[in-house]
Subunit: 476 residues, 2 copies
């Protein structure tokens, strides 16, 4: 299955496009028309223009390039619509309607039927029961939610089982000034599932990290294997530690399964897991914008002891280690800032200092350190040490994370400059520590990596899994 027609269409048909504001067929058309390619409103009862495009009665009568159909019609109409899509050479369709497998009974049969028709006509399906997807870089917005035009381009691909959670993550990524390379809600996964999405985004030039939101799946092995094959780091958020079975099944037709089995499975296949939406995006920012971490040893540099203690405490619980620095680094630190508050790990200057950036560089160059985490409350008179840290992560080949806090208007430009200098930034001491913890766990999970040494020439995430686990079982 190729998802090129889904995520990189030549043109888009909105089937069931409507003039009535508030209807899905209206909002989907409003969002779709932002796309850089042609967009066609399709409705047998439509006439005239909608958002500047002429209504077409059927996808088979579109006169122009079109690969993707956004289907805003009720479920029972879908088999016919998909057959017409096939006839028209449309290779991908998004089905927003619900009332399929998640509803049980007749819905399950309807879902089987659309899969048959789609297979027969070689149409890839996203959904049903999804609120769609976004590719901000090409203004491709196949969602019926409002505000999606404001989700900016970034380098994280969000792949969520729930369309709602996909949108939560998209809007969060905006609030965090990060953005997404794509944001996809898989819904019922009748056809396109986690494995296909991971494979596609692993090959996507705009994507440097892939995050998964998972409620449950009956095809755990394929998901895990796709994760292992991915050269792009994958981070997973598996929901459902408590009993949410009945409600979850009503959602996307999925059972939540055994949480511990999932966590162990992901670890075995090289995927660190997190436990919240904001942690997921933080981890993606850390992994997707840093050199690959080579070990779990974190060096902390802080300008305020209190946040430094919070970080020191939390990193150890998150899977990192805080080794002592080498005597050489201690001496170098004392030389840079005589009388420094604390010269070992964490290095603490007590308050922001002009020498702060040099201290960060000294810790980053310590051979015992694999990952650097910096905390500094923003002091306007000093600013952030952007010049000193420019290119540091790349030069030492280690992730350097930076958490700061202050008045947004004063801080924004310098924080953006740090990001541009290869230093991912974070909002709270805890979230930065948790992101560093993910880097540490990622390093442990990939400790056996031998880049370029594998038969397939790619970066194998493992020399091999430590025993192939069985299917992640359904929790009946």
């Amino acid at each position: 299955m190729s998802l090129t027609q889904l995520f990189e269409p030549s043109g888009v048909a909105v089937v069931g496009a409507s003039r009535t504001d508030g209807k899905i067929g209206y909002v989907a058309m409003a969002n779709a028309t932002q796309f850089e390619g042609p967009v066609y409103p399709v409705n047998p009862s439509g006439s005239g223009e909608l958002f500047g495009a002429e209504f077409v009665p059927s996808v088979t009568e579109i006169d122009g390039p079109v690969d993707l159909a956004l289907c805003c019609v009720p479920g029972p109409a879908m088999p016919d619509v998909l057959a017409e899509c096939g006839e028209a050479g449309i290779g991908a369709a998004v089905i927003y309607a619900s009332g399929f497998a998640e509803a049980g009974g007749e819905g399950e049969k309807l879902q089987e039927r659309i899969v048959e028709v789609a297979d027969e006509h070689d149409v890839s399906l996203l959904g049903p029961n999804t609120s769609g997807f976004l590719v901000p870089a090409t203004d491709l917005r196949c969602s019926f939610a409002s505000g999606v035009e404001e989700v900016p381009p970034g380098n994280t691909a969000v792949v969520a089982q729930s369309g709602g959670v996909a949108h939560v993550l998209g809007f969060q990524s905006r609030r965090q000034r990060r953005g997404v390379s794509a944001m996809v809600g898989l819904g019922n996964r009748a056809d396109v599932g986690f494995a296909e999405a991971i494979e596609y985004f692993d090959g996507d030039d705009r994507t440097d990290s892939i995050v998964l939101h998972i409620e449950g799946t009956d095809d755990g092995r394929r998901l895990l294997e796709a994760c292992r094959e991915s050269d792009t780091p994958v981070i997973a958020y598996k929901v459902g530690q408590s009993d949410v079975g009945a409600f979850a099944e009503s959602h996307t037709g999925a059972l939540t399964g055994d949480h511990e089995l999932y966590t162990a499975g992901f670890a075995q296949y090289g995927v660190p897991t997190v436990d919240a939406t904001d942690d997921l995006l933080d981890a993606a920012a850390a992994l997707g914008n840093s050199p690959s971490p080579q070990g779990p040893n974190v060096g902390v540099v802080t300008a305020q002891a209190g946040p430094g203690i919070i970080i020191t405490d939390r990193i150890q619980r998150a899977g990192g280690r805080l080794p002592e620095l080498t005597a050489e680094t201690n001496a170098r630190v004392d030389d840079i800032l005589p009388g420094i508050t604390y010269d070992d790990n964490p290095v603490d200057t007590g308050r922001p200092m002009p020498e702060f950036g040099d201290l960060v560089a000294a810790v980053a160059e310590d051979d015992r350190i694999d990952i650097v985490l910096v905390y500094e409350l923003f002091e306007e008179a000093l600013g952030l040490p952007v010049d000193t840290l420019e290119g540091l992560a790349e030069r030492v080949g280690k992730p350097v994370l930076f958490a700061t806090e202050g008045i947004e208007a004063e801080l924004a430009a310098e924080r953006d400059a740090l990001e541009a200098a290869g230093i991912p930034t974070f909002e709270t001491p805890e979230r930065a520590a948790d992101a560093a913890g993910v880097l540490a766990r990622y390093a442990r999970l990939h400790a056996d990596d031998a880049p370029e040494a594998t038969a397939d020439g790619g970066r194998s995430l493992h020399s091999g899994p430590r025993g192939v686990p069985g299917e992640v079982p359904r929790d009946e």
Copy 2:
């Protein structure tokens, strides 16, 4: 000890005020001059004016009302400065300098000496080794950090052991659009400690919740007793589950102690604990702006199933329960929205609907429900159900929390209206669920409460502790 002179001074003296930008004596003066009362720069080598006020050579020569001295001078000068403060009738002093007990040796002796002098002259001390405090409502900004003028007034008092963490929390509260009634960094707690601060803010009309950041204390019993005596809800964040002892001791002279003992102690004295700075402020917003929760039973209403599952899962781990709704409520829900996606707990509408507010009210009125948590992705065409929810929490006597996500510019006005209508708002499904979890735990910890039935006429947080624990031990 009365802290009135510290937090409600008639006038402020900045001892060691300086013309040199960047020096503590300059920044502290710049921040202090925003105060509504008179502010005097004090420096024997100063002359002329600083920020419009005439230099005074000594606090004893101030001609006007003054209760509070902000001391920007080195530690060894402090005994003399405090004696002069006493002579001048100044009843409170903030000591920014470090090099006291946290430094050991001579520093410990110096700390003992300043406490003696302060006692002798009846001066309350904040610090030493603190970055100060803020009372935004009166523009009283006794801090040497930049940007503090932007921390807005709110109804949460932040009491942090670390001045740095106090500022982290202050700036966070601004980012969350909440603000603080006060923000205090206790530092070494040579004189004013947790107990004194809690007592003061419990009596402060602007304060509806008190949050504590604790690294360690050798006077755990007094802290716990102050918490129990407080009519204002207290929430605690105890840092130091991992080994951070040596670094922590270098900070504010405190050992972090046994985390589990603290957690148990807080629970016994009616204080829910959390594990992150943002959780602390979320919990304060939930407890400080809601009717007191009467039980741990949470009713969830969601417009998107995915975030609903996240919340359902997480609340149970956070200490809440999700009971089934009554058959009457099920019927009422079905009546309000026939064909609703899910009519029990969580009630799920699948997407935002005009009936959403009515459904929230139906769940809030269910007798099995003690706490209501709502999730709705913002849909611009529908807005948030502000009118329907106006006054709901007060009418049903239950907390109603609302989490939403969308584009800030579209969402801000309606979210502010919800807050004004008595509905605290939250940013992510997880943080809202964690806040509801704190409410549930608070309700459990206070299940024996009999308001107005205690001898002192106040709201006793317990009928009595279940056995008085010993001192929270130092972790030697």
